[in-house]
């Protein structure tokens, strides 16, 4: 059983399946809750990759804790009517606290280039949180951005930093893919901060982690920062939902692919 669960194709597919099943099961409880499938899929992926081991509490494990905590916070801000800009500011403020906690070990002794990278990673993370939050009322665009951010971060990290960080990014992509599929099927489905906040925060932290804990080139993050913008490309209202989804996913994935390509070109031959 352990052999099967450790296979990359299983680790890649399981978050999708779990997110899809949970999304289907919770849909009757309210249109907003299907996005919780993404969290379930992420947790399933984490259990395969990291297990329940949280000692020592490394930055990578803190990112996992942040992801789950962000889902709870996102769920709170997904219900009822709340002022959009105020929520956006609050989420960015929470992201700052999460960022400092995750990278505290590095922040307290960073100097020169490392500090510049940490500041840059912070700006990247907070940018993603703010911009992806702007897509919370657009399930197809939020889903497209989430899939592309997860895939872009995941493959870039595998090529340029760490397989562990990469696997977590791909888990986000896989689980987000299931939610996107549900959003395509159900036009009344809502994404809300329940999904946009944890996705943006985790992807931002993973990308920064790849840069400051390993050797992910900063240019990859610069390119990935444009993924949510690509998913916002205006399309004619008359286009069928399936066509819109393909175009938004395609645009976001092209940008993600450019980030992966930049890492590929900058890194030396990786086989060993």
């Amino acid at each position: 059983m352990q052999d099967i669960l450790s296979r990359p194709e299983v680790q890649g597919a399981l978050p999708f399946v779990v997110a899809l099943v949970v999304g289907l099961l919770v849909k009757p409880t309210g249109a907003v809750w299907s996005a919780a499938g993404m969290i379930a899929g992420f947790i399933a992926g984490v259990l395969l990759i990291n297990g329940l081991q949280f000692e020592p509490m490394t930055a990578t494990r803190k990112i996992i804790v942040c992801g789950v905590s962000a889902a709870v916070i996102g769920a709170f801000f997904s219900t009822g009517k709340k002022a959009g800009k105020l929520v956006s500011l609050l989420l960015v403020a929470i992201s700052v606290a999460a960022y400092v906690w995750v990278f505290w070990t590095l922040l307290k002794r960073a100097d020169g280039n490392k500090m510049i990278m940490l500041v840059g990673g912070g700006v990247y993370t907070f940018w993603l949180v703010a911009v992806v939050h702007g897509l919370r009322k657009e399930p197809l665009q939020a889903g497209a951005a989430s899939v592309a951010l997860g895939a872009g971060t995941g493959f870039a990290a595998i090529l340029g930093a760490s397989a562990l960080l990469g696997q977590l990014g791909l888990t986000i992509a896989s689980a987000s893919g299931a939610v996107l599929l549900l959003a395509l099927i159900w036009s009344d489905m809502r994404i809300e901060p329940l999904m946009t906040f944890p996705v943006a925060l985790v992807v931002g932290l993973l990308g920064t982690g790849g840069m400051v804990l390993a050797k992910l080139p900063w240019i990859a993050l610069l390119v990935l920062a444009f993924v949510p913008l690509a998913a916002r490309i205006p399309l004619p209202d008359g286009y069928p939902r399936i066509l819109k989804t393909i175009l938004w996913v395609g645009a976001a994935m092209v940008v993600a692919a450019l980030a992966i390509l930049s890492v590929w070109l900058l890194m030396e031959e990786s086989g060993y």
């Binding site: 081991q53 020592p56 490394t58 070990t105 590095l106 397989a163 982690g209 804990l213 390993a214 050797k215």
Partner: protein, 188 residues
């Protein structure tokens, strides 16, 4: 009689402790190295290029101790890309855990020389007790510097999973054999 034994014990013990000489590890001749099974095909070797520390040694009083601090980022397996990966969060996570340390807690003696060193090994911030087998201790005047110099070899086998280094298990071996070649010069 009892009082006499106590007096002798108290009197001798500090003297033997006081006789232990202090040595500073010579980074140029101290290279902790390791071997690990690679995908079941071969045994791969690597070493750490930067190590500091100190030891005390008193063969007459049969007392010794050692403390070693290894710069985890100095890992060297002869392949830059692999070394980068070994420094990443998948393995040694050197950005967060820049040091690997060993601190002795007890030295076992077999005859005139140490035969084992028990101590605490810390990797990734996780400390585990380990026991090193000492395979040789040699002291003498250094032929070039003319300083009194001692060196020893020691080795042990640990499970990297005990320290939370789990990436690639079981394909990449869990058992990690550590070799310490240590040389130090007596403090003046």
């Amino acid at each position: 009689m009892k009082r006499a034994i106590i007096v002798v014990t108290i009197g001798v013990f500090p003297v033997s402790m006081a006789l232990a000489d202090n040595y500073t590890i010579d980074p140029g001749h101290t290279y902790p190295s390791f071997t690990i099974n690679h995908l079941g095909f071969s045994t791969m070797a690597g070493k750490f290029d930067s190590t500091t520390g100190a030891f005390t040694y008193d063969p007459a009083g049969k007392s010794a101790s050692v403390e070693v601090t290894i710069d985890a980022s100095s890992i060297d397996t002869g392949h830059d890309k692999r070394d980068d990966h070994l420094r990443s969060p998948d393995f040694l996570n050197v950005a967060e855990f820049p040091e690997i340390t060993f601190k002795s807690t007890n030295v076992g003696w077999g005859g005139e020389a140490p035969s084992s060193i028990d101590g605490d090994l810390t990797i990734l911030g996780v400390t585990q007790p380990v026991s090193l087998a000492v395979t040789g201790v040699n002291c003498g005047e250094h032929p070039f510097s003319k300083k009194w110099t001692c060196g020893f070899d020691a080795n042990t086998t640990v499970k990297r999973s005990d320290f939370g280094v789990n990436y690639g298990l079981p394909a990449i071996g869990d058992e990690l054999t550590l070799h310490f070649e240590v040389e130090g010069q007596k403090d003046e």
